[in-house]
């Protein structure tokens, strides 16, 4: 089960934010094209930073906590991190905006 650790952390983040879509009707997932473009633009920049940092030996990943799939030098979980965090951030932001507007 240890190999699911990083994936479980990502799932936890998603679980903490995804409920905002149906409950507060923030309409973020409904605007999926804009969300996809946002994630693509931001993830491209931060993944480049991450790849450079791993190449320079700034940080490394312990394989025993990973499912074992790699995208280039990065574990698939690390790539998903740059999808999950932006999605959660946008969900939270739109939820706050919606509540503030009330």
């Amino acid at each position: 089960m240890r190999h699911l650790t990083y994936l479980a952390v990502l799932a936890g983040c998603l679980a903490g934010a995804l409920w905002l879509e149906p409950v507060l009707r923030v309409g973020v997932l409904r605007r999926w094209r804009r969300l996809l473009l946002t994630v693509a633009l931001v993830a491209a920049g931060f993944l480049a930073w991450d790849v450079a940092a791993v190449a320079a030996g700034w940080w490394s990943f312990s394989r025993s906590y990973l499912v074992g799939l790699f995208v280039g030098p990065l574990p698939v979980e690390e790539v998903l991190f740059f999808v999950v965090v932006p999605v959660c951030a946008v969900l939270g932001f739109e939820a706050v905006r919606k509540v503030l507007r009330r």
């Binding site: 650790t5 990083y6 952390v9 936890g12 983040c13 903490g16 804009r34 969300l35 473009l37 946002t38 994630v39 633009l41 931001v42 920049g45 931060f46 930073w49 940092a53 320079a56 030996g57 700034w58 940080w59 490394s60 990943f61 312990s62 906590y65 990973l66 740059f82 965090v85 932006p86 959660c88 951030a89 946008v90 939270g92 932001f93 939820a95 706050v96 905006r97 503030l100």
Partner: protein, 121 residues
């Protein structure tokens, strides 16, 4: 220290993106500062697990060595840059689609450019 320096530049770039490049100016608004502490809470928990358990290990020479909930403080700045640039791009893309004349808000274009009285084209 190299991670510390690069993360500082990352925060600077994100703020510049928000204020000067995309002009979404989230850092001077309320919504961003309400949502950021919430995201920060999640980040401390998630990062705490990742660094506490040892999923990610940092070379001691690239960080200051100051840690918060197991994670190097640099990670907080990294998260700030990631969240700010994400929300800035999200808001910017939303404005772009409005300016293109979304069918739901047809009046926006007309209201944005009021006619100057006394000046005929």
């Amino acid at each position: 220290m190299s991670y510390s320096v690069s993360v500082l530049l990352g925060v600077l770039a994100a703020v510049l993106l928000d204020v000067a490049v995309l002009r979404t100016r989230l850092v001077s608004g309320v919504a961003f500062w309400v949502v950021y502490p919430i995201v920060l809470g999640f980040q401390l928990a998630a990062n705490g697990v990742l660094t506490g358990v040892g999923v990610v290990r940092y070379a001691p020479s690239v960080i200051l060595g100051v840690r918060l909930a197991y994670a190097p403080v640099e990670d907080l700045a990294f998260g700030f840059a990631l969240v700010l640039s994400t929300l800035s791009v999200w808001v910017w893309l939303g404005r772009l689609s409005l300016r293109d004349g979304s069918p739901r808000r047809p009046a926006v274009r007309g209201r944005r450019r009021p006619r100057v009285p006394g000046r005929r084209p």
